[in-house]
Assembly symmetry: C2
Homo-oligomer: 180 residues x 2
């Protein structure tokens, strides 16, 4: 743990609660102060790197997942593949649609980013209901990849994302640096 | 250069040209294969880290700039601040509008992400016309930050982004790992 100079409790103190964002009644957890503190960011990546499942590649979810997924891929010397919003990837893609509270959204991946039987860990910053993480995992596993795990900086436990993910991926390791 | 096991020519070979994306007549440079090759990604970050200007923080532009900015901030042990599309940052922001070929766009930053007289390097993946990079720099310098440099993975020289940036920021160091 030589790179982890801050512990989880110290990192957690940096998160700023923003009431009523993005809409009234929601308490948004702003993780950007972690990024502004190099020792907190390095410690987060080091601790996540030790906690997440064995894998052959890191799959990062746009946009804040790119921040942690990229640093983690560099730290772990693993390939980084991108899960993007529709229309952002220039070559042939696979698409997965998923339901939101109101309406639906979808996520895309380059077809050649998925290798059959390779193991992927899905990385995003915050686990809420798990809809995006689950769609990301389905997109990869529908096309031959194996989901060995999920990694988040923060899990909002009241939204039960862990339950939802583990029902669908009982063999995947779900890890979160912080939990509220 | 111990971390740079691939040289620039080897990294460049990984970029895939995508004709007519996002619209007819445009040759899109897809940098995602660099991310899928850990030695190429690590080398890119190491080479960029050595090339860019002295700074107190890395300012990464959404969304692909997050990938390189984040890894660079980790590698250089510098604070990372985010330049985001409108409505994505939860706390008080500053906004800069800028012209596109048709219409306009804008970019935001958290107000407390800018420290007076601190030196920032703007990081994005591709330098095209320079509109987004320039708006990002203006957003920071309008509020007291100093732009010491710009760093890109790829510069498309025919679009003259370097000229445009250097006219506005003559003292900033503009670096690009690759140039076409």
């Amino acid at each position: 743990m030589k790179d982890a100079t801050m512990d989880v409790a110290e990192i957690e103190k940096l998160i700023i609660d923003v009431p009523d964002y993005p809409k009234p009644g929601i308490l948004f957890k702003d993780i950007t102060p972690i990024l502004q503190e190099p020792s907190a960011f390095a410690s987060s990546i080091s601790l996540m790197g030790q906690a997440i499942a064995e894998c052959d590649a890191i799959a990062a979810v746009e946009a804040r997942g790119f921040i942690f997924g990229s640093a983690l891929a560099l730290y772990m010397k693993k390939p980084l593949i991108l899960l993007r919003k529709p229309g952002k990837l220039p070559r042939k893609t696979f698409t997965k649609e998923y339901a939101l509270e109101y309406g639906s959204d979808s996520i895309q991946i380059h077809q050649d980013a998925i290798e059959k039987n390779a193991r992927y860990v899905i990385i995003d910053d915050v686990l809420a209901t798990g809809g995006t993480a689950l769609a990301s995992a389905d997109l990869i596993s529908d096309h031959g990849g194996v989901i060995s795990g999920f990694g988040f900086i923060l899990t909002i436990s009241v939204l039960a994302g862990v339950d939802r993910i583990s029902r669908n991926y009982p063999r995947a390791t779900i890890r979160s640096l912080l939990t509220t």
